[in-house]
């Protein structure tokens, strides 16, 4: 019954991809705790007791809160987002619910990239992965136009060097294009984006300023 409700919520939100990636027992684990919506949802969810089986479920708290309570939790969290660029702040005020979802996808992208890279670091392959996958997930949900607006707003900062910004913008564009191609066959999802990212990396179609091999030897 819980799964049916979750499925309906996912369909209403147009977000079946989250549902397919999340272990089903996590939705039961979440349901049993009777978590409340809003900012409290994330906190409560993170505090739910886990067992060996459900140990990874707190990683899905963001998705569980989103699926169960829409964008409410993320909009609250976005108030805490400390380093929004001015352009992002403008977008948040104009499109609060869309931007809320956009940040949810940035977290999801990082989690997906952590499945292939140990740690999230700057200017290396994990950085390229985060941008590529985030861009792809955004495109999957919003289409290319709004996604590029969000991605460009994220880079509209003087706190990064020109080279870093160029790397991020190039990898963002690659992610958008990859998703556009995958959408032709209705397969733009996190798993396929990750595979496409690895292929693109091998074919040297992405920008990586500081490859890991060189950086940490």
């Amino acid at each position: 019954m819980r799964f049916v409700r979750l499925l309906i919520a996912a369909l209403l939100l147009g977000n079946t991809e989250l549902l397919s990636a999340m272990p089903l027992y996590c939705s039961d684990w979440f349901a049993a705790a009777r978590v409340r919506p809003g900012l409290m949802c994330m906190l409560d969810c993170m505090a739910i007791r886990t067992s060996l089986t459900t140990a990874i479920c707190p990683n899905w708290c963001a998705d569980l809160c989103e699926l169960n309570f829409g964008g409410v939790a993320f909009f609250e969290i976005s108030k805490l987002y400390p380093a929004l660029t001015m352009s992002e702040r403008a977008l948040v005020s104009e499109f609060p619910s869309e931007m809320t979802r956009a940040y949810a996808y940035s977290w999801k992208a990082e989690r997906l990239c952590l499945t292939i890279y140990k740690g999230s670091t700057a200017n290396d392959e994990s950085d390229a992965c985060r941008h590529f996958v985030w861009a792809g997930l955004l495109t999957s949900h919003f289409g290319p136009r709004f996604s590029v607006t969000v991605l460009d707003a994220h880079e509209d900062t003087l706190l990064q060097s020109v080279e870093e910004k160029a790397m991020d913008l190039a990898n963002n564009r690659a992610g958008v294009l990859a998703c556009e191609n995958l959408r032709l066959i209705s397969q733009c999802n996190g798993e396929n984006l990750l595979k496409t990212f690895l292929d693109s990396l091998v074919q040297k179609r992405l920008i990586v300023l500081s490859p890991r091999g060189k950086k940490f030897k």
Binding site: L43, M46, L80, P82, K118, T121, A122, Q160
Partner: protein, 132 residues
């Protein structure tokens, strides 16, 4: 008892954004633990900037003990003084400096993070487990 603890946690988080951030994003390490693990060598910006991770980790506790030196300063000052950051915390623009790396698959990666406030000034300095 558990409910009381959760209630206190939730109320504190709701009333204090910086605490909420600590709850949301990653595992943190206290300055005492950092000193126990990596030692308490005095902080030197030039050595931090040019040194490797081992060098940085030894200075981590000292950097945190003297965090007032950083708080209130513009975020861009951090890069000028400590060089390009190599860690990552939530977004590319938050300066995060690795102090350990995972040589083996179950090793933990730790980093020093300079958290900004809404005006891009340093609000706090923390030691955080990267990717946690």
């Amino acid at each position: 008892m558990k409910n009381i603890i959760i209630f206190i946690l939730v109320m504190t988080a709701a009333s204090e954004p910086s605490f909420a951030q600590l709850v949301w994003f990653g595992k943190k390490m206290t300055v005492e633990k950092a000193e126990k693990r990596w030692g308490g060598e005095g902080f030197d910006a030039s050595r931090f900037k040019n040194g490797g991770l081992t060098e940085r980790s030894k200075m981590a506790s000292s950097l945190l003990r003297n965090k007032n030196r950083w708080i209130g300063r513009p975020i861009e000052d951090i890069r000028k003084e400590l060089g390009n950051h190599d860690g990552y915390y939530f977004t590319d623009t938050i300066p995060a400096y690795l102090i350990t790396w995972a040589e083996k698959s179950n090793d933990e990666i730790w980093q020093i993070v300079f958290l900004p406030d809404g005006n891009y000034l340093v609000k706090d300095v923390i030691i955080e487990q990267n990717g946690s």
